[in-house]
């Protein structure tokens, strides 16, 4: 049966709020934070108009937002919240607990810089800091991807071989507040795709009482943490691939672990996350017209990180620049750089790698910035080594 689609102009936040309406979760906990506020604001109007069945809990902090979502999910309800930046930072403690309790919470997360200095614009330091919390992280380039990813994240998180929370990220303001055409699907098609949620264990199952959040000493803690690692090591990646294909069959857009752009024969490539990928595609087209074999790898699934698959698509590239929209402050560049270097390490012949920290606090990333990275890469190929391992792109020094 053909799926009814509408092509409408939406901001990223509007697209996400619409997806949440169509998912129709049982419980949502909400707390305002720029630039994610609109999501729950729009969603609250759906609640007020009776367009969803959701119980909206307008909590007094993001810590309570995640705590209430955890309580609701443990009770057996399909549960969501949304946040950004400092909000995610305040949820920190609870992120680990949501994952440790194996609760399939799905959360849109609008990428915004962390304080200090306070800044409301885009970078990835918020979600990067949560990369070891046990949450699946799915990045989106644009509103369409954010919309599609959120729907898929429900299936991924609730998959019986996964049962982990997911955050679907997209760039603050650049995507959250930018209007572009989004293809949307009918409520029925989305409901059919995600299916009804049946919690494997539920607090409200009073005839089968369970204790959630028990204390483990040294005799059990390690085993439980090892069990938590299992889906990250083995099951999430095939589930993400399978659901991406199924989504493609149903809605016409297939999703993989990452997107490659003109990478097959590329000699120089960049690795990037989020909206910058769109800018990079324009630069690559221009370079290709001039005969430069430029390509790109856009990471979609960041947690778990598909190391082997990444190495496979980058193995024939001569030089790779990893663009990090956050600084690891590790003395060794940003977090994505570390992942990519590590993924490439086992290759018999490794590409040369270099790192660019860019776009912090919403600093604009222009075509010229990306073009300069490719120029550097071409020089690295001819010289055999980068001048600097870690570079800062577009900053006044």
């Amino acid at each position: 049966m053909a799926i009814t689609k509408d092509r409408i102009a939406l901001t990223g936040n509007e697209a996400i709020a619409l997806a949440m309406k169509q998912i129709n979760p049982d419980v949502c906990a909400a707390y305002p934070i720029t630039p994610a506020t609109e999501i729950m604001q729009i969603f609250a109007s759906y609640v007020a108009d009776g367009a969803v069945d959701t119980e909206l809990v307008a909590v007094e902090s993001e810590h309570s937002a995640m705590s209430a979502t955890i309580g609701a999910c443990a009770a057996g309800a399909r549960s969501m919240t949304a946040t950004s930046s400092q909000g995610l930072a305040l949820m920190w403690e609870m992120l680990y607990i949501a994952a440790g309790l194996r609760l399939p919470i799905v959360m849109p997360m609008v990428n915004r810089a962390l304080s200090a200095p306070i800044n409301i614009h885009c970078d990835h330091s918020d979600s990067m800091g949560a990369r070891d919390s046990g949450w699946i992280q799915i990045n989106s380039e644009n509103s369409q991807e954010a919309y599609d990813n959120l729907i898929q994240a429900m299936r991924i998180s609730e998959h019986p071989d996964v049962l982990l929370p997911s955050m679907v990220t997209f760039d603050g303001f650049i995507i959250s507040h930018c209007m572009e055409p989004v293809e949307t699907y009918s409520n029925e098609a989305i409901q059919e795709f995600i299916g009804a949620y049946k919690a494997p264990y539920a607090l409200l199952d009073i005839d089968n009482p369970i204790t959630v959040g028990a204390i483990d000493f040294h005799d059990f803690y390690f085993e439980h943490r090892r069990a938590l690692a299992e889906p990250m090591l083995n099951t999430v990646i095939p589930v993400v691939e399978e659901i991406g294909r199924e989504f493609g069959k149903k809605f016409g857009r297939t999703y993989e672990l990452f997107e490659t752009y003109k990478l097959d024969d590329a000699e120089v490539a960049i690795v990037v996350l989020g909206s910058t990928a769109g800018t990079a595609k324009v630069v690559i087209d221009e370079l290709r017209a001039k005969g430069v074999k430029a390509g790109m790898l856009k990471i979609r699934l960041y947690r778990p990180f598909p190391y082997a698959q990444v190495a496979e698509v980058l193995k024939n590239v001569k030089a790779v620049a990893v663009l990090d929209r956050s600084d690891g402050l590790a003395g060794f560049g940003g977090p994505v750089f570390g992942e990519i270097r590590s993924a490439l390490y086992d290759l018999p012949k490794r590409p040369i790698t270099t790192n660019y920290v860019y776009g912090l606090g919403g600093r604009d990333v222009t075509l010229a910035h990306i073009a300069s990275v490719y120029n550097d890469l071409l020089a690295i190929v001819s010289e055999g080594a980068p001048q600097n391992l870690v570079n800062y792109l577009g900053v006044r020094e």
């Binding site: 609701a72 409200l204 204390i215």
Partner: protein
């Protein structure tokens, strides 16, 4: 009015074998609270003594469904459980009657969990929050909290050569909860089981949030012989150190009127944490404690008399 015979028929609402200290009074409080309900319960707790001693994996002392997530958020967590219940029920996906109770110690309630508690009460969730108030961070080793009374010797307000224990008075959390204008607020003590059970039943019967602050003598932190917990709790009530009262829709009622108001020094004497107050140079502190108790008690009497 609760009936002890009926209550005893409920069997073990909390399984034996939990690892609370010998002489701990929270298991008694827990039994009184849980036995009070005829409706099935879903409970939650903040991190603390109650949680760590009842849920040591692979065992649990909880016969009701139970959730612990973190320290400062028992109220927020249970508010999420209650929201799930409301939602599923409204959608026709769930048809049972359930009540919700969150427990927290004074650290998790007066201090780190105050925001979460205030938020949940203001939002009007249909839940009861029970603070088992042992007047310090006992689980981490007797550190002062904002519930710790003036002069108490704790590990972060030690009685030393120049400082005679905690220099500040207790925060009045019960009154802070009254100021939330929720339908039911009360103070309870495990020494008065009938009063306590009745209060829990009233709290669970209201439509909306309820809060009960229960004084919980801690044999480790207050430092008394394990057999004296209930006696000390009783003296806390008779000295008006811990008046038993309730505020129903804003109306005050003293539920246990002491026959004779006993001097606070008698209560303080029984706990090692106040031992240093009996040195002559600290006599003034005991007088201050007595004066504060008297002032609060008189205020309470007036409010109860006026019925406001």
């Amino acid at each position: 009015m609760a009936n002890l015979k009926e209550l005893s028929k409920k069997g073990n609402v909390v399984a034996p074998g939990h690892r609370a200290c010998a002489g701990c009074t929270f298991p008694i409080i827990l039994k009184q609270v849980l036995a009070a309900s005829d409706t099935p319960l879903v409970c939650g707790s903040a991190t603390g003594c109650m949680e760590v001693t009842t849920t040591i994996f692979p065992f649990t002392a909880w016969k009701t469904p139970f959730i612990h997530s973190a320290f400062e958020n028992a109220a927020a967590t249970i508010s999420g459980v209650e929201a799930a219940y409301k939602s599923l029920k409204r959608q026709g996906k769930y048809d049972k009657e359930v009540k919700f109770i969150a427990f927290g110690g004074d650290g998790g309630t007066y201090d780190i969990g105050l925001q979460s508690l205030s938020g949940a009460m203001e939002r009007g969730h249909n839940m009861l929050y029970v603070c088992y108030n042992n007047e310090a961070y006992m689980n981490t080793g007797i550190q002062r909290s904002s519930a710790t009374p003036l002069g108490a010797d704790t590990t972060t307000s030690p009685a030393g050569k120049v400082k005679p224990g905690k220099g500040q008075s207790r925060k009045d959390l019960t009154e802070i909860m009254v100021a939330h204008n929720i339908p039911y607020v009360a103070q309870g003590s495990p020494s008065h089981w009938n009063d306590m059970v009745t209060k829990v039943q009233k709290a669970l019967a209201v439509d909306g949030p309820a809060f009960i602050n229960v004084l919980m003598p801690c044999r480790l932190g207050w430092a008394f012989q394990p057999q004296y917990g209930m006696q000390i709790a009783r003296e806390a009530v008779s000295s008006c150190y811990w008046p038993l009262y309730e505020v129903v829709d804003g109306e005050y009622k003293i539920t246990v009127m002491p026959k004779e108001k006993t001097p606070i020094a008698e209560f303080l004497k029984k706990e090692t944490k106040f031992r240093h107050l009996f040195k002559p140079e600290n006599a003034e502190i005991i007088e201050r404690i007595q004066a504060e108790i008297d002032a609060r008690w008189n205020k309470l009497l007036k409010r109860a008399e006026l019925g406001c």
